[in-house]
């Protein structure tokens, strides 16, 4: 008994002013009564009832029920009257007038006007004779509020409670645009619990409670000898959202930091580049399928300028098999294909441009990285997109070798959170040896391909350096890593920019 009493005391201390207002009327167990007696708005009542139920003072049951509510136009008409009110006012003054005059003077639009005519005709208050509206009912009837108007003013109502004439009004209004709506709503019913009944016997008026800390309270020191209302600190709070970076950029920034930590410099480059930099400088034969329009975005009506003639000649020689020790691709290389402008298909074109700079300045050993968007002419669906992210890197060093290539890659992917990594042979026209990086997916128990790497072929390096300088190079895609971390299963969600989803997306953390 004592325990219960102290429990009740605690509950009383935690009642909010709204709850205090409701408590005296709880016994009646009727939502509408609470509304009438307290004058609180309905949402506040619902919330407070939930809190009272959390405290164990009442039991709430919800029941689905159909209600008739005002629609968008209905809200307006309750204030202004139905459109036919305007027309009937007009007719009651003039007794007879033409349709055109009536529409103009009533200020109604075409639809409203037609609906109004129909409504008044139906009630036999007017008739149409030779294009004139003539009063045919009694004036008093015309001025009186119509059944529909009275019905609108009484809303919202439960569908089951409607009287026959109200049902009739509902049917006639339903056919008109967005005046009334029948909605399914949750109706709240509640009953007071034993604990609730106990509590009512106590003084719960809060005469000695402080609701909150205010500047005035601090100044007056009025808290002495009083208690603060207890909060239910376990109850959920409304969500708030902060500003944040796009999740793709969060993850690419993270990757960027890994490369910076490992001593790499960032390189950047244009997204629109020439075939020369995207393909030719990377020893990709001009008849390679990737150079066809169905794979690559070529830009209409643009022609690129090629770099200095010496370099262009060297690249031509590499393709045609005129570099010492290489058979090349054995065809006649042509400048026109190199001058085509396209959206880069890989960030490796930036590496090619950087090789030129490194060779000219003889600044190696050198380590560079890039993270950027690439493009391919693709449709957009759950597994495809025309835009993707790549992480690129090169190490230019006379002593660079294959084992070091594995070293850098495995270190990077470990830092990206992948423990089980498989390196297997692969093929790219511009690297030899070439490899593919797979990571093991512990849930699917499957290897996933993350991207390619290799060492640039002499046909790539000799045109820049005049001799073969080993260059480690890689360009794994990044989107699969992003999709996996953020549980994205549809490619389109990467660039969907659904604000609600962006707000909810967790932060990148590896």
């Amino acid at each position: 008994m004592e325990k219960e009493q102290s429990e009740i005391k605690k509950i009383i201390e935690s009642l909010s002013p709204n709850e205090v207002k409701l408590i005296p009327h709880l016994k009646e167990g009727n939502f509408e009564k609470l509304f009438e007696k307290t004058g609180m708005n309905k949402t506040a009542i619902v919330r407070s009832l939930e809190f009272l139920s959390n405290k164990g003072l009442i039991e709430i049951k919800t029941r689905k029920e159909q209600t008739v509510e005002l629609g968008v136009n209905g809200l307006l008409y309750v204030k202004q009257g139905l459109p036919e009110r305007k027309l009937s006012n007009l007719v009651s003054k003039k007794n007879s007038l033409t349709l055109a005059e009536a529409q103009k003077q009533s200020g109604l639009n075409e639809n409203e006007f037609k609906a109004s005519l129909g409504a008044l005709k139906k009630r036999a208050l007017i008739s149409l004779v030779n294009g004139n509206i003539i009063l045919s009912g009694k004036k008093e009837e015309l001025v009186e509020k119509s059944l529909e108007e009275r019905f609108l003013e009484s809303l919202p109502k439960r569908l089951n409670d409607l009287k026959p004439e109200e049902k009739y009004a509902l049917e006639s209004l339903k056919s008109r645009r967005e005046i009334v709506e029948v909605k399914e709503a949750n109706m709240i019913e509640f009953s007071i619990t034993k604990l609730g009944e106990q509590l009512v016997k106590n003084d719960f008026s809060h005469s000695n409670m402080i609701e909150g800390v205010t500047p005035a309270l601090i100044k007056s020191e009025a808290w002495h000898g009083k208690k603060f209302r207890r909060y239910d600190i376990t109850s959920p709070v409304p969500k708030i959202y902060g500003g944040k970076r796009h999740f793709v950029n969060q993850s690419t920034d993270y990757a960027k930091n890994i490369w910076l930590e490992m001593g790499f410099k960032e390189m950047t480059g244009n997204l629109a580049v020439s075939g020369f930099w995207n393909f030719d400088a990377l020893f990709t034969a001009q008849d390679h399928p990737v150079r066809e329009m169905q794979d690559t975005f070529f830009i209409s009506n643009k022609k690129a300028k090629l770099p200095d003639k010496k370099l262009v000649d060297e690249i031509k020689k590499a393709h045609e098999g005129k570099i010492k020790g290489s058979r090349g691709w054995q065809y006649e290389w042509n400048e026109a294909d190199a001058k085509k402008v396209l959206l880069r298909t890989h960030t490796t074109c930036i590496s090619a441009q950087t090789l030129k700079k490194i060779a000219e300045n003889k600044e190696f050993p050198a380590k560079y990285f890039a993270l950027g968007k690439c493009f391919r002419n693709e449709t957009i669906d759950a597994t495809h997109g025309f835009q993707f992210n790549q992480t690129e890197g090169i190490v230019v060093d006379e002593n660079a070798n294959f084992r070091q290539l594995l070293g850098y890659l495995i270190e990077f992917f470990k830092k990206m959170g992948y423990e089980k990594i498989r390196i297997r042979p692969s093929y790219f026209p511009y690297t030899e040896p070439s490899l593919e990086i797979d990571v093991y997916h512990p849930v699917f128990k499957k290897w996933f391909e993350l991207g390619g790497a290799g060492m640039f072929r002499p046909e790539v390096t000799i045109p820049f350096f005049g001799k073969h300088v080993p260059v480690l190079a890689w360009g794994p895609g990044f989107d699969r890593i992003i999709m996996e971390f953020f549980n994205i299963t549809d490619f389109r969600d990467i660039y969907g920019n659904d604000i609600t989803k962006l707000r909810e997306t967790k932060f990148w953390s590896k």
Binding site: N270, A272, K302, P425, E432, T500, L502
Partner: protein, 551 residues
């Protein structure tokens, strides 16, 4: 990407049972396993290895790799018999200048083998042959042919024969328009005045490459014991190699290869199945791979890749099989050794070379800007770089945009122009987001494009920043406050001058000026644009070029 699908039982007859380990080994050979069922195995073949695009080719290479049959496989060519000749007529030089030919006898073809043979042909056409553009292969039952053969070109109207699987005789032009294969590859001949054909000793047309064989002489059946094979195209070496891939595969199932005399400007024998010699240095291989393998081990590893070894006067020489197309340079041998050594056996290493990391200046600036805006509660969006005229211009009230369009060719989606502003992108996102809670505060940092004759590609690119706020209370003051905060934090002086812009309300739009140069636009978006984009709340936005910010 070419996927080779093989009958599992047939492959297991050649290479032994495919266990879990063998499956892993197949991937580590550079031919990743795509799928494996009881009946079939599908493996991905990279374009550098057309020689393994057949059951025989793959089995041969993989048996060597597993160490079961290592080393160079030798293939013998029998001397040509009487009339084993192919004349390349000068009429064909302009349209399809070369052919490589051979005869293979002693075949025991089953339905399965015939299917394989057709499959090799199709796989080679599709990959190495670039959809028959570069080369095409024809195989004919020798029994139906009278030797010698002539490769010549004729006017399409004069070429008359019944193409394979077609009910009647038609002419060359008609084949391109009426025969399904003709239609598929019509573009390869359409522009030519004369079409190439193979004719036999009776002037009977055997085929019209690269399109189709004659129904009479081009059908291999289970009764076929001997075949004539030709490969025609534009590069002698590619043709010879392709022919070698086919005849070696036939030899592997018991065929006996016979040479033919090719009579071109000069006479020569075909095929040539001698290995090619390539000088290399063991030191270079070790240096590239970061290994220290002795000569003996290098030899063993090369042999696992089907490559032979020879030493002449201290010079190491690799003997490359006649069907390999991918060994262009000494460097390619290091990958061969690497694969044989096993990529899984390399010990990764990070070398001690001293380099200093450095972030790009623009990246640093972008990061600072995002930090400032995040502090103000903005969410970053990231949109496509391609857009539509509708979204990019019309939807934000720009009517005159002809000169601004940079178009991509043949896009597979509706997005066929490069984005020229970010503002249109953010209006588009707001238009899709009317269900999301307000205020909606967005920003985007990213590249936009413009025509620029001075740049190498004719296209200029700049990093742009767009900020938009959409809310009942969004107005000029709010957006200017954001700009003002950003500029103060970056310590940049700026001013706003009145400006007109079709996307903004006149009198509530300004140009952002830094160093006396306009670098952006700011204002309240015109209500007709909001209405047209079904945006329910006012929007205030700005867009500016950030690269000009620090200059």
């Amino acid at each position: 990407m070419t996927v080779l699908t093989l009958n599992r039982k047939e492959l297991e007859k050649n290479i032994g049972k495919i266990t879990k380990e063998v499956e892993e080994k197949i991937s580590m050979f550079g031919t990743p396993v795509e799928s494996l069922t009881e009946e079939e195995i599908s493996i991905e073949i990279f374009p550098n290895r057309p020689d393994v695009l057949s059951l025989q080719g793959f089995s041969r290479a993989f048996l060597a790799f597993m160490g079961k049959k290592p080393g160079l496989r030798e293939y013998k060519v029998e001397k040509p018999e009487k009339d084993y000749k192919v004349t390349i007529d000068k009429t064909v030089k302009k349209v399809r200048p070369y052919t490589a030919c051979a005869i293979v006898k002693n075949l025991k073809l089953t339905e399965e083998k015939i299917k394989e043979l057709i499959d090799i042909q199709e796989k080679l056409h599709g990959s190495y042959g670039r959809n028959r553009k570069k080369l095409a292969i024809g195989i004919y039952p020798l029994e139906q042919i009278k030797l010698p053969i002539t490769f010549l070109a004729k006017k399409p109207e004069e070429i008359k024969f019944q193409p394979l699987d077609f009910p009647k005789e038609i002419n060359g032009r008609q084949i391109l328009s009426q025969h399904p294969t003709g239609r598929e590859y019509a573009s390869l001949l359409k522009e030519c005045e004369v079409f190439p054909v193979f004719e036999d000793g009776n002037s009977e047309i055997l085929s019209m490459p690269p399109i189709i064989n004659s129904d009479k002489t081009g059908k291999i059946t289970e009764n076929t014991k001997e075949v004539f094979i030709e490969c025609s195209g534009f590069n002698k070496e590619y043709l010879a190699k392709t022919l070698n891939m086919v005849v070696c595969a036939l030899s592997d199932i018991g065929g006996k290869i016979y040479g033919m005399e090719i009579i071109d400007k000069e006479k020569y024998l075909s095929p040539n199945l001698e290995p090619e010699k390539l000088n290399f240095s063991i030191e270079n291989i070790n240096k590239t791979l970061g290994l220290n393998l002795a000569e003996k081990e290098i030899i063993k590893n090369l042999e696992k890749m089907g490559i032979g070894y020879l030493k002449e006067k201290e010079q190491s020489i690799a003997l490359i099989p006649c069907y390999r197309t991918d060994i262009l340079h000494e460097i390619d041998l290091s990958e061969e050794v690497g694969i044989a050594y096993g990529y899984e056996n390399f010990i990764p290493e990070i070398p001690q070379i001293s380099t200093i990391g450095e972030e790009d200046k623009t990246s640093v600036l972008k990061r600072k800007i995002s930090e400032a805006l995040i502090g103000l509660g903005f969410i970053e969006i990231s949109t496509y770089f391609l857009s539509t005229k509708e979204k990019q211009f019309k939807n934000i009230g720009i009517k005159d945009f002809k000169n601004e369009i940079i178009e991509v060719l043949d896009s597979k989606t509706e997005n066929n122009i490069l984005r020229t502003s970010l503002l249109s992108q953010s209006v588009n996102i707001l238009s899709q987001s009317s269900d999301a809670t307000y205020p909606q505060k967005l920003f985007e940092l990213g590249r936009i494009f413009y025509s620029d004759e001075k740049s190498d590609t004719g296209i200029g690119e700049e990093e742009s920043l767009c900020i938009s706020m959409c809310d009942e209370a969004a107005n000029f003051t709010e957006i200017k406050q954001a700009l003002d905060y950003l500029m103060r934090m970056l310590d940049i002086k700026y001013e706003i001058r009145e400006a007109e812009n079709p996307s903004f309300i006149t009198g509530r739009c300004g140009s952002i000026i830094v160093n006396n140069k306009p670098i952006g636009i700011i204002g309240e978006i015109a209500p007709f644009i909001l209405k047209n984009n079904k945006i329910k709340m006012p929007v205030a936005s700005l867009e500016l070029d950030i690269e000009n910010l620090m200059k």
